[in-house]
């Protein structure tokens, strides 16, 4: 990179100094061609990518909420000027942000539970967690790690160790859950931490507690759950 100037000198000595219109022209041509290529590949891959992403999310939601066959995304907004003064509204937009969660429904379209996401610091880096919650029974129905950079072989047991993941199935969530050392579990709301990954285990539990405490006051009364909108995501297909 350092000898750029030198090279350009020798080059320009050989060829004629091009006019600035030619510079702009060639840049424009390049930009144009590159634009075409980029947009073509974007269009070519758009559907697949979108579907991949949707599938990934869907699978996660269906995993943490059993017996669910359709889901929809809900968005919470502080200002309740929206339709029906509802703070929690069904959205269809792509992408996710911190103020979104999911509602899951069975084949008949009956509401089953929520899938809530949370994130927080783990041993190495931020851990993203998704967990299912049955408001009727005040139960956590499952937990899935969406993203983490925990140590392979140690911290990654939070999603590889099925015993640990299994502890979040049908876990009563009345007050905060708690991680204790492996084998020390004595109460319903306690989780056996993974040996050698106590910190990651505790982080998962803390993230769930935090997300739960954020969302539980936002949830509507029982029986008032958002109804299934017309376009929804089902188990079989992507969009319908």
């Amino acid at each position: 990179m350092t000898n750029t100037n030198e090279n350009s000198k020798t080059h320009s000595a050989r060829s004629q100094e091009p006019g600035s219109s030619r510079l702009i022209f060639s840049m424009a041509i390049a930009g144009f061609i590159s634009g075409i290529i980029i947009i073509s590949i974007y269009i070519l891959t758009f559907d697949t990518i979108k579907e991949n992403k949707a599938r990934e999310l869907r699978e996660a939601v269906f995993k943490v909420l059993p017996n669910v066959s359709t889901m929809q995304k809900l968005h919470f907004s502080e200002d309740d000027s929206g339709a029906d003064n509802k703070k929690l509204m069904v959205v269809k937009a792509d992408g996710m942000d911190d103020e979104m969660m999911f509602a899951g429904y069975d084949q008949q379209g009956k509401f089953i539970g929520y899938a809530i996401q949370g994130k927080g610091p783990g041993f190495q880096d931020t851990i993203h967690v998704l967990f299912g919650y049955l408001s009727s029974r005040k139960n956590i129905t499952g937990m899935e790690i969406l993203d983490s950079r925990e140590t392979p072989g140690l911290g990654d047991k939070i999603f590889k160790d099925m015993d640990f993941v299994g502890e979040f199935i049908n876990l009563p969530m009345v007050k905060n859950i708690k991680a204790v050392k492996k084998g020390k579990k004595s109460k319903d709301n306690e989780i056996d931490a993974i040996t050698g990954a106590t910190i990651s285990s505790k982080a998962v539990v803390r993230i769930i507690n935090k997300a739960f405490n954020k969302w539980s006051p936002r949830l509507p009364q029982q029986g008032n759950e958002p109804v299934l909108a017309k376009t929804v995501v089902t188990k079989e297909s992507g969009e319908r």
Partner: protein, 336 residues
């Protein structure tokens, strides 16, 4: 015509030397570590002996292999490589597979000393570098602790010690929590008496505060180590943990617990003071010690790992060239 009397040497002055030599300084540290090493045998039995021998062997062999052929005759004469092995061994858990201890010794000398140019040139403490490598490489084996036994179990060797190279150790149901682990994850303190005598779980050489203090005082009196480093570490660690203890005594340990638990004493007296990897200047030694004291409590109380001594020392080792550079003493008769 002669212009020199053939009988006479022409060594220039000063002709006198103080008594201490570098091999003797190393020997002092061996002597100072003797009580703690014997205690290790008492508490952890033959396992401790095996681990210490194997890590020393790993270190010494590596030093020997990588020394130039001409220098080999002297290569080990200063005993510093063996000392590195011993210090590494003292920081290992008693149930560690022996092949890991050997690997640790080899890495200590190979990565920690040889590539830097041999004795005196390394920036990082070789023993601790070896331990950091082992901890990062085999985190589970390195954090599985055996409980302290007694002389009755002297001849029982942990089955995990004997794992084949590259294979996992099979742990006999011995896993116990160290005082620091109990503190961090369960907020349980350990009685000071136990910390003092050393019948707790932990690394082979770190458990008995009493004997470590004895060794440290010996080195201080012999002026083998700079008194400022331990003083700074103790003062800073005690102060920091006192503040935390006052703010929330249920969660945070007392200053005495901080000082007498884990590797703090072993690290302070024998590793932070390694002359090669600590600053030269007196002011630098204070800064170095304060840095270690601060980092060790920071990592213990807020970090992911229960023990921070290892990393505190390594991090300050990394800063030592900078510290030295900015704390050059004021030269006599010069300003600033």
């Amino acid at each position: 015509m002669k212009n020199k009397d053939p009988r006479l040497l022409l060594q220039s002055a000063p002709l006198l030397r103080q008594e201490l030599t570098t091999p003797a300084a190393m020997k002092d540290v061996w002597i100072a570590l003797l009580p703690a090493s014997c205690a290790a045998l008492w508490f952890f039995g033959l396992s401790a002996l095996l681990i210490l021998s194997v890590s020393i062997a790993g270190a010494v062999l590596t030093e020997w292999v990588f020394t130039d052929k001409e220098k080999r005759r002297f290569a080990l004469s200063d005993t510093s490589a063996g000392l590195t092995g011993l210090l590494l061994g003292l920081t290992l858990p008693p149930g560690l597979p022996l092949w890991m201890a050997f690997l640790g010794g080899a890495v200590s000398i190979g990565l920690g000393k040889v590539i830097w140019g041999g004795l005196g040139t390394n920036i990082f403490n070789p023993a601790l570098l070896g331990r950091a490598f082992l901890l990062g490489t085999f985190p589970i084996a390195m954090t599985t602790w055996g409980a302290a036994g007694g002389p009755g179990e002297f001849f029982q060797i942990h089955s995990s010690n004997l794992a084949l190279p590259f294979m996992q150790g099979q742990y006999d149901a011995l896993s116990a929590a160290t005082p620091l682990g109990l503190m961090k994850f369960e907020h349980q303190s350990t009685a000071l008496g136990a910390l003092f005598m050393g019948n707790t779980a932990g690394s082979i050489g770190e458990t008995s505060s009493l004997l470590l203090l004895l060794g440290g005082i010996f080195l201080l009196l012999r002026r083998s180590i700079d008194w400022r480093i331990p003083a700074a570490i103790f003062l800073t660690a005690a102060l920091f943990s006192l503040i935390m203890f006052i703010s929330n005594g249920d969660v945070y340990p007392s200053p005495l617990f901080t000082l007498f638990s884990g590797g703090l004493l072993l690290g302070t007296f024998f590793m932070a003071t390694d002359p090669v990897t600590s600053p030269l200047t007196p002011k630098g030694c204070w800064i170095f010690g304060i840095g270690i004291g601060f980092l060790v409590v920071l990592i213990r109380l807020y970090g992911g790992l229960p023990e921070g001594m290892l990393y505190a020392i390594l991090l300050m080792n990394a800063a030592t060239p900078l510290i030295d550079r900015y704390t050059q003493p004021r030269i006599f008769g010069r300003k600033g």
